[in-house]
Amino acid sequence: MTLLKDKIVSSSLYVPVQATIRDIRALTPLEKVFSLTLPDGMLLNHEPGQFVELSVFGVGEAPISITSSPSRSNGFFELCVRNAGDMTGVLHQMKPGDVVGVRGPFGRPFPMNRFLGKDLIFAIGGLGLAPARSVINQVLDERGKYGKVIILYGARTPGDLLFTDELEEWDRRSDVELHLTVDRPAEGWDGNVGVITTLFSHVQVYARNTVAITLGPPVMYRFVLMELLGKGVPEGNIWFSFERRMKCGVGKCGHCQIHHLYTCKDGPTFSFAEIKHLEGAL
């Protein structure tokens, strides 16, 4: 049983293994879920919050969060990818059976054992659901180990909501509190309209025992943070996953540097306590 990570550590950090696309599911016109298998039964062995460096050979490579949770790895893993540029654009034209490159898993995962017994509040914007889904499903698969689970999720329009089947599933559960919002409603939308922070008034938290996991576009973070701090959630319990430009994923290329930290290896998950003194981090 080889681990992908052992493979790259033993040969070259930059040589991906050739993974096969086993399935592609379009969520929206811009986002697709790619289900990948590694060769020779190799294992990815990731933890929630980590990412892989995904390549289309001849085009390029980009960091992509692993959206499937470790608790649901049945010989494959999933990536939810937005068509945002070169590599992702060509990836979106690919078909099952095609080969892509994968390196990883990289990055510091969420410290799940520090979350045990805590109430969890997820504040998610847009594509942030991709990494969040990995944490959420992991938590739901071990539901007993955590307190309340509150999920706040915002998208631009109802059509931009990702993983709607799973959203419905979570909504049906009595042990999950799900609140959705959109910036711009569409025909038939009877839910909340407004930015994600407008959802906070709908939820009650026991601040001292709450862990907040915030995932979304950079602009969202400051506002969510103000809400959470305002509710009294401790600084060390407020977690983010940061996005930065990355070329290597292993703390060499310098692109993702935030002060002395490298987002790819010291993060991408950070607690507010860790980064609050770092100007420009948020």
Partner: protein, 353 residues
């Protein structure tokens, strides 16, 4: 390990010997500038060089480097690991310090096999600087004017001969290629000591504060007005980061042949002073102005690298100052920050409103 002495007349012969087994890279004069370049005969070398345009890091981390080649048709994928035995000759002490930082970066965490393979196959023959190489160098201020480790061999020019310090067994073996390196006599010791003590006063201190204070100075200078002033002047040309021996940021691109199925992945130098360095998909730029980029650059040099690797991020070679058309340079920047030092209390506002 002590040192040996080799008459200068024997030096070319020694280089000839090296050329039998090694690729030799050293400073060459090309028109009005010096470059580290492959040496084909001892005459190509010019050890009296001032400073080179690019630092010797290019031997360990080439400007344009194949990381891997692939062929999807056959499924072949190969790491390009370069293990060519190389002597890197005539490295100034500041650059030697810079290589130590590069070593730390590329060995840290996941070790970068490409860098390390090169590094392990490179013999470093450094050279004691006896007078400032340019008006813009400030190695003495940065504590890089001398070295005690990190080399395989270290040369000091004693006039008609070289004193050669042996820093490793590999260095020793390299020296054994010649029979003309004799054990040092007492006279040689005193000549070397004299040379070293004579050289010291020739170098000015150019920084007005001590390097141990740099990190603190920067910590309180994040909001200094100076960044705005530098930002206005800075052309964003990126030269300063490209020529820096301690910069190692890179970009990775793919090249393909017309089959679109085979090609290679290339690593090439990048720099944090370039406008697109921190742009992410969707167009957000985490450092969108020259001002922020200059600040980041100097923080890396004076603070971040120290915090991350325990080594100073600027070795005072002065290349960036030579390269900058608008005369933005570490000495003036750090000195000006020091003059404008912002009291801690004023700075101690929250990061968030």
């Amino acid at each position: 390990m002590g040192f040996r002495v080799m008459p200068k007349s024997a030096f070319p012969g020694w280089v000839e010997q090296m050329l039998q087994t090694y690729r030799v890279v050293g400073p060459r004069k090309i028109r009005d500038r010096y470059m580290f370049d492959e040496v084909n005969s001892p005459g190509d070398l010019d050890l009296t060089y001032s400073t080179t345009v690019l630092p010797p890091k290019k031997v360990l981390l080439p400007q344009h480097e194949e990381l891997l080649s692939f062929d999807l048709e056959s499924g072949k994928m190969e790491a390009a690991i370069d293990t060519q035995p190389t002597v890197l000759l005539g490295v100034h002490t500041c650059d030697l310090h810079a290589i130590r930082l590069l070593d730390a970066v590329f060995e840290d965490g996941y070790a970068d096999q490409h860098y390390i393979a090169r590094r392990q196959n490179v013999l470093l023959v450094s050279l004691e600087c006896l007078s400032p190489c340019t008006e813009k160098s400030f190695c003495k201020s940065m504590g890089t004017l001398s070295v005690t480790e990190g080399y395989d061999l270290h040369l000091t020019d004693l006039g008609d001969s070289y004193a050669i310090d042996i820093g490793s067994e590999r260095g020793q073996a390299l020296l054994e290629l010649t029979e003309n390196a004799q054990p040092a006599t007492d006279a040689d010791y005193s000549r070397l000591n004299q040379t070293l003590s004579d050289k010291w006063p020739r170098f000015p201190y150019r920084l007005e504060s001590d390097i141990t204070e740099l990190a603190n100075l920067l910590a309180v200078s994040y909001d200094s007005d100076l960044w705005e002033e530098l930002g206005e002047k800075c052309l964003g040309c990126g030269s300063c980061t490209i020529v820096c021996p301690t910069c190692y940021c890179f970009n990775v691109i793919d090249e393909v042949d017309f089959s679109l199925n085979a090609g290679s992945r290339i690593r090439q130098w990048d720099g944090c002073t370039l406008s697109q360095f921190a742009v992410v998909a969707g167009g957000h730029n985490f450092r969108s102005t020259n001002q922020e980029r200059q600040r980041h650059r100097f923080f890396r040099k004076g603070k971040y690298q120290m915090e991350a690797y325990g080594l100073v991020g600027c070795v005072g070679c002065g290349r960036c100052a030579e390269a900058c058309l608008v005369d933005i340079n570490p000495v003036d920047t750090f000195n000006e920050l020091s003059r404008r030092r912002i009291p801690m209390t004023r700075r101690h506002k929250e990061v968030l409103p």
